[in-house]
Amino acid sequence: MSNYNEMWRSLGLNMEAHDRLLQALPPTYHDVYLTQPNRPQGLEYFDFVVNEIHGLRIQELQEHKQNGGKVIGAFCVFVPEEIVRAAGGICIGLCSGIDIGAAEAEKVLPRNICPLIKSFMGFKLAKICPYFESCDMVVGETTCDGKKKAFEILNDYVPVHVMETPQMKRGRDRELWLEEVRDFARLVEETTGNRLTTETLAKSIREVNGKRRALRRLAELRKNDPAPISGLDSLLIEQIAMYDDVERFTGKVNELCDELDKKVQTGEGVFPSGTPRVIVTGTPMAIPNWKVPHLIETSGAVIVAEELCTGLRYFENEVAEDAGAMDAMLENVAARYLGVNCAVFTPNTGRMERLVQLVREYNADGVIHCALSFCDPYAVEANRVEKVLKEENIPLLKIETGYDQEDAGQLKTRIEAFIEMLG
């Protein structure tokens, strides 16, 4: 990727620190991804996209900006991509899953804080993320106290617009959220200089729904035994969904699904039929956080679904396409996003109900709950998950871990022992 040096320099990246980040990725990617057995061919595109994560895609964003387009960064699946696209903008996920830049982040954040928060702060302060540096606007939200307060600090370095995500799903909360979505639409119009029209919004709703539908098609295929694709590869695709070009990505996911359809017909899978099947649930796994899924799939099980923000929560429900007027369309957008079962909500019974359904639908043998260290919403909600799964006699393993590798040995023993129990 050395031919991108000039572009990175022009974005103001700290070249030395950025080089270190780039050197960290390929060996991990090789060990975790390229050594997997029976990978479908359609993954070549996604391998390419990861390989070009700070290269070609950043170049595309720069070209978009040179043509007057804007780039808007987000940290959460609550930020409505449809609105950004309808105003001609590109929406990019900024979360990261690697503990580089922690020393910088700890200058402004407490040491014991969620690694995802520490990571995005570190990326900004250390100037190592070309996505961050490409953003014309950054959008935060109030899905946990750590993020909420961290956005106040982040605002010292880049302007952050914070959307207030409600904590309950009552009528008044829906009204609040609709207001937030309307404000966001106005702000996006100001930032991009483009008015939303019913035509552009309807088109972008269709396109983003198309992306979600393709991801759902992929998820459906994983109900088969043997599973035609690994959980690791599925997670990768779900991570790439946050920053790749929407239409190209949708096309590539559908092409991959065509290939997987054939594999299912001939009974081909990535692991033998009868391999223990696991559902992963909990906090999002931002790229390149593949730690726990890698441990699971090298310990004799296959992950068949991710009840995560980098997973089903991102693409499970669609925006209704039945509205013709701007107000009604924004209402549909707002309604779709409040359907997400985030642990910010109290109570969050929808998540427990969905998990039990998923175990049945995907014929899973057990559930692995992964909470990032210091993530109160998910770490505490793990108890609710445990209670419901116990009632249903569904085996559960609870894990709390960060982006470091120091606990990998013990985690491997725990995960293997859990899989032995399922087998």
């Binding site: 606990d407 013990q410 985690l411 293997e416 022992a417 032995e420």
Partner: protein, 249 residues
């Protein structure tokens, strides 16, 4: 003949089964070249070798036919020695495991300490050295002579050591500090057992089960009998050998 090998952080256990009976058992220090040491223990041709413990995967890439986790190995071993066991506690060199078995002796649930060595064999070893005891046995026996009243609140090996040292400087008796350190381990272990839903009979395996003070305090604290196998450090290797004989993976 079937062999089981348990490559742990402190010791390597090796058990050979012949026609369902233990034909040979050995225990050595892990040392600094665990894989070589483990390999040297295999002196004959075995029908099948199953490895467990932290070195299990390395063993599999070199000589073992299959691996099982320490959780499963200790469950199998303990149920073989004490049929009908429902809870197994294993405290080894660097971690503590509590395992719940169902009526058939199959693992139903388990918990493990994460990350650090708080409350494990390593913790006791470091404390024994800090108090100037020659070894674990001497440390445990001394603690049995101690009287209560001192409480060590820190379970971190580093912080607990400085707490013990400062108690010594304040003039506390060595055996009283030793007792306090043992009680701290028992508190933590009992907490893990209660969280998982301790069901008697309880079997205690791993190197720390050789410490009489821990066993005594644990039985008092839990109000239940603590069954200790004759060679608690070999339970994992026995379990692995049993798995080899069952041709399990």
């Amino acid at each position: 003949m079937y062999a089981g090998i348990d490559i742990g952080s402190r010791t390597i256990g090796f058990v050979v089964l012949s026609e369902g009976r233990v034909a040979l058992s050995r225990l050595i220090d892990t040392g600094f070249e665990p894989l070589g040491a483990a390999k040297n223990m295999l002196t004959e041709k075995y029908r099948r070798v199953v490895a467990t413990g932290y070195g299990r995967h390395a063993a599999k890439s070199h000589f073992a036919d299959a691996v099982i986790t320490e959780i499963k190995a200790h469950a199998l071993g303990a149920a073989h020695i004490f049929p009908g066991v429902r809870t197994v506690l294993d405290i080894g060199g660097q971690d503590t495991k509590v395992i719940l078995l169902d009526e058939r002796g199959v693992v139903a649930d388990f918990q493990m300490n994460d990350r650090c060595s708080a409350g494990t064999g390593k913790f006791l070893e470091v404390m024994a050295a800090a108090l100037g005891y020659g070894g674990m046995d001497e440390f445990g026996e001394a603690a049995l002579q101690g009287s209560g009243g001192i409480k060590i609140s820190n379970m971190c090996t580093v912080f607990a050591e400085s707490e013990a040292v400062s108690l010594m400087h304040r003039g506390a008796a060595r055996e009283d500090i030793a007792l306090a350190l043992h009680s701290a381990v028992v508190e933590r272990t009992a907490g893990m057992l209660q969280r998982i839903g301790l069901t008697p009979p309880l079997v205690f395996s791993g190197g720390v089960a050789n410490n009489r003070c821990i066993v005594t305090l644990l039985a008092e604290k839990l109000g239940t009998k603590v069954l200790v196998p004759p060679e608690p450090q070999l339970v994992g290797a026995l379990g692995a050998a049993l798995a080899a004989a069952k041709e399990q993976h």
